[in-house]
């Protein structure tokens, strides 16, 4: 049964991820009083790209060609080991704890950077350099956040953390959890490429993640984009299911039907979060590139204050 749930989970993440992106874009357009694209536009884009021929730079190596497929594979694996539709570990969950999950995210990011560098495009290099600079500072914050949740729950297992937060109001309503959630939200804005860190345009001055797949086209680009959608979906799910709203995620005894019902509830949770993202994206202006590091410093400060609050309130 656990294998079936894992299969359902991976299918759910792969199929629903483009929808979440589509809904966010549609909401942003509606906020700006525009009609906007259909919520299914990312699916149309993927379908179109899958039908097109892939062009590969002559100077690139197989790293460029196979990079997106490896990245997609890693995110698919992450979808199976993190608490997305269940609050109990599925078949592959023992493969990695929170730190291990972070390692897989890091591996996917590294492969993306290698393949971008391998394209030999100046723009891809520019994006890689920026993404690496920001990522190098965002990763320690993420690790600090995980450590703090580890301190609360005495484990690095995201399923146990979900269980601790949903069952103990003294931790859920504690300063430590508040700071950790705020810091993770800021990291989430960075990792999912939202404003004020990154705008969804191809303006050279602000490009970070948009610049990296500059040389990709056709089927390869479709896979790259799909993997990016899945990354956003997984990170948002972790934020909601583990940190912000750990309630309602089906437990081991809940049964198959409750998991199916929860998928709908999970989409509603995601809808709430993407409305917040859409509001931020339509009201906040983009930081200049070097100001992103101030944003990171504040995120680090919040994560750090979580640890201080823990020791003070102990």
């Amino acid at each position: 049964m656990l294998y079936l749930y894992s299969f359902i989970e991976i299918l759910y993440v792969a199929l629903a991820a483009p929808l979440v992106i589509g809904v966010q874009r549609a909401i942003e357009e509606r906020i700006e009083s525009k009609q906007g694209p259909s919520v299914f536009q990312p699916y149309y884009d993927l379908a179109k790209l899958f039908r097109k021929e892939s062009l590969v730079p002559l100077v690139s190596s197989p790293v460029f060609r196979f990079g997106p497929y490896f990245v997609l594979m890693l995110y698919a694996f992450l979808a199976m080991i993190l608490p997305i539709i269940t609050a109990f570990p599925l078949a592959y969950a023992p493969a990695a704890d929170f730190i291990g999950g972070g390692l897989f995210f890091g591996a996917a990011a590294a492969i993306k950077k290698f393949s971008a560098i391998d394209s030999r495009s100046n723009y891809a290099h520019l994006g890689t350099s920026r993404a690496a600079s920001i990522g190098a500072l965002a990763e320690p914050i993420t690790v600090l956040i995980f450590i703090m949740l580890g301190v609360l729950s005495n484990t690095n297992n995201p399923f146990v953390i979900n269980n601790v937060l949903r069952s103990s109001p003294q931790w859920y309503f504690s300063l430590v959890h508040g700071f950790v959630s705020a810091a993770f939200f800021m990291v989430l804005l960075i990792e999912t490429g939202q404003l004020p860190i990154e705008s969804h345009t191809n303006g050279e001055l602000g490009m970070i993640d948009q610049a990296m797949p500059f040389e990709y086209s056709g089927q390869d680009l479709a896979v790259y984009k799909w993997a990016s959608y899945m990354k956003v979906f997984i990170l948002m799910s972790v934020f909601l299911n583990v940190y912000m709203i750990p309630f309602g995620v089906p437990l081991a005894h809940s049964g198959f039907l409750s998991i199916i019902v929860y998928m709908g509830i999970h989409l509603l949770k995601l809808l709430g979060l993407i409305i917040v993202f859409a509001l931020i994206n339509t009201t906040v202006s983009k930081f200049r590139l070097y100001k992103n590091f101030d944003f990171l410093a504040v995120a680090f400060a919040l994560a750090f204050l979580a640890s201080l609050a823990y020791y003070i309130m102990q």
Partner: protein, 218 residues
């Protein structure tokens, strides 16, 4: 009740970090007003905890809201409007230290205050989170040191005063009402006089185009 005090104390620390992050003076004034309202909530809660001083602490909370939360921000805002054509664009454009670096130093000061307090006063006072107002005090000092803009320096001083109110009420059980009320009125005087000095300097001493006309130094 102690947990609520801790939450309020940490909120003030976060607000001061945001002041360190913020470059626009108008936003810093708003942040200061919010922090003053938090101090007022703290005083109300302190009053509820100490029924024998309830009445005086409620009066003090009211004074804090009126003077620190409303009047002082309004006075600084008005001074800003008088001195600058586009007050919403007035900003700290030459901080002594980069924002990211100053936030990290601020964290270092918070740690320092924690260890200092644990190693000294905690043994006597037995208040677990007594390091929070001390941290706030040091953060406000850093805000003054790292900024050259007169308004932000003034706000740094006012935040220091907020920290002292927190420290006296939370850790030492409160100062006499007359002292606290006197300090609040002193602050009002300080802001009014500073605003006047800045205006007089602008109109009489300095010439248009001087780029140091927003600093407090001679």
């Amino acid at each position: 009740m102690d947990q609520i005090f801790e939450i309020l104390g940490f909120l003030l620390i976060v607000l001061t970090l945001f002041m360190q992050w913020e470059v626009y003076v108008k936003s810093t004034i708003v942040l200061f007003a919010i922090s003053s309202f938090i101090v007022a909530i703290f005083l109300v809660l302190l009053g509820l905890r100490n029924p024998q001083e309830e009445y005086l602490l409620f009066v003090l909370a009211g004074l804090t809201v009126v003077v620190r939360g409303i009047t002082i921000p309004v006075i600084i805002n008005k001074a800003l409007h008088r001195l600058h054509e586009k007050p919403w664009r007035v900003r700290e454009d030459k901080p002594i230290m980069g924002i990211g670096g100053s936030i990290l130093v601020s964290l270092g000061l918070i740690m320092l205050s924690y260890f200092l307090y644990q190693g000294s006063l905690y043994g006597i006072l037995k208040v677990k989170s007594g390091s929070v107002p001390i941290a706030l005090f040091l953060q406000a000092s850093l805000l003054i040191i790292t900024h050259k803009h007169a308004y932000i320096q003034m706000i740094g001083f006012l935040v220091m005063e907020n920290a002292v109110v927190m420290l006296s009420g939370w850790v030492f059980g409160g100062l006499p009402f007359i002292v606290e009320a006197g300090v609040i009125l002193d602050l009002l005087g300080l802001v009014v006089v500073s605003s006047l000095i800045m205006r007089v300097r602008e109109n009489t001493i300095l010439h248009e185009g001087d780029n140091y006309n927003t600093e407090l130094r001679g």
